[in-house]
Amino acid sequence: MKKIIYFIPLIITIASTTLYQISAKQVPSSMNSGAILVIAYAMATTFSLILFIITEKASIFAEVEGYKTKFQFPTAALLMGIAITGAEMGNILVYRSGWDLSIAGTFTNISVAVILVIVGRLLYKEKIDKNKSFGIIICLLGLIILGI
């Protein structure tokens, strides 16, 4: 059961990333990219608010240790709101400038992964064993070849 809980978020993220890249490529090119995001975020706000109300009523997250005990405004949300707007705006422009679905996603993933491995080690003191180091090198090599 623990293993399932460990992998469910990954499955959600992979499915959503794929869906997100496809829809970013398919949005109308004649539409202002700022307007696309205004509408998408208005809808996303509504969806997440509905999910918040449902999960609160069903007490889905009530078992989390320390839940609600010390609520404070997530300051990381401020930076995150700006960062996702930049990432999504950039993504729409990437596809508008003619990048292929497979290549653009790959380029982004390689670069972000490399940056985050460095960030993980420097800021979060995450240890990477030999298997994982080798795995990362193989993956990066694969992604580079995939992106050529």
């Binding site: 700022g34 205004v38 998408a40 997440s48 003619g98 982004t108 298997n131 694969g142």
Partner: protein, 146 residues
């Protein structure tokens, strides 16, 4: 000019992952996400007002297709997925990488099948290496930490 949008995506995505990991873990994740979207809504509204050349929001709404709706749904899934991913203990270096490889592989396949993009020998070798690397990454982590 061709590379500027992708550089923006890379920089912002890296910041986004760090913020995802820094989000409070003791509140409902959908509350966090809602706050993030409200901020993102206003940031993109400012961008729209600065970049729109006499075109109103109503005129743009008329151009909305199914992809904008799917984009919104996938945004919620993406944010929710990453917040949960870091909550259940994935490392920032590994979680994003595994997601990146799996999503890249799916996008390469869909690019060929749905968008008729070319799948040459390079991409076949690349995909094979990604799967082998993913196998190595998925081995039990002796050094997992938050």
């Amino acid at each position: 000019m061709h590379y500027i949008p992708i550089l923006i995506v890379v920089a912002c995505t890296a910041i986004y992952h760090m913020c995802s990991k820094a989000m409070p873990k003791h509140v409902n994740p959908f509350l966090n996400i809602t706050i993030v979207y409200i901020i993102a809504f206003f940031v993109s509204l400012i961008f729209f007002l600065l970049s729109s050349n006499n075109s109103g929001i109503i005129e743009n709404i008329k151009l909305v297709n199914y992809a904008v709706m799917i984009l919104a749904i996938s945004l919620v899934g993406l944010e929710m997925g990453f917040l949960m991913l870091y909550r259940v203990g994935w490392n920032i270096s590994i979680g994003a990488l595994v997601n990146g490889i799996m999503a890249s592989t799916m996008l390469a396949i869909l690019g060929v099948l749905v968008f008729n993009e070319n799948l040459g020998i390079n991409r076949i070798i690349g995909l094979s290496l990604c799967f082998f690397g993913l196998y190595l990454l998925s081995k039990p982590n002796k050094s997992r930490n938050n």
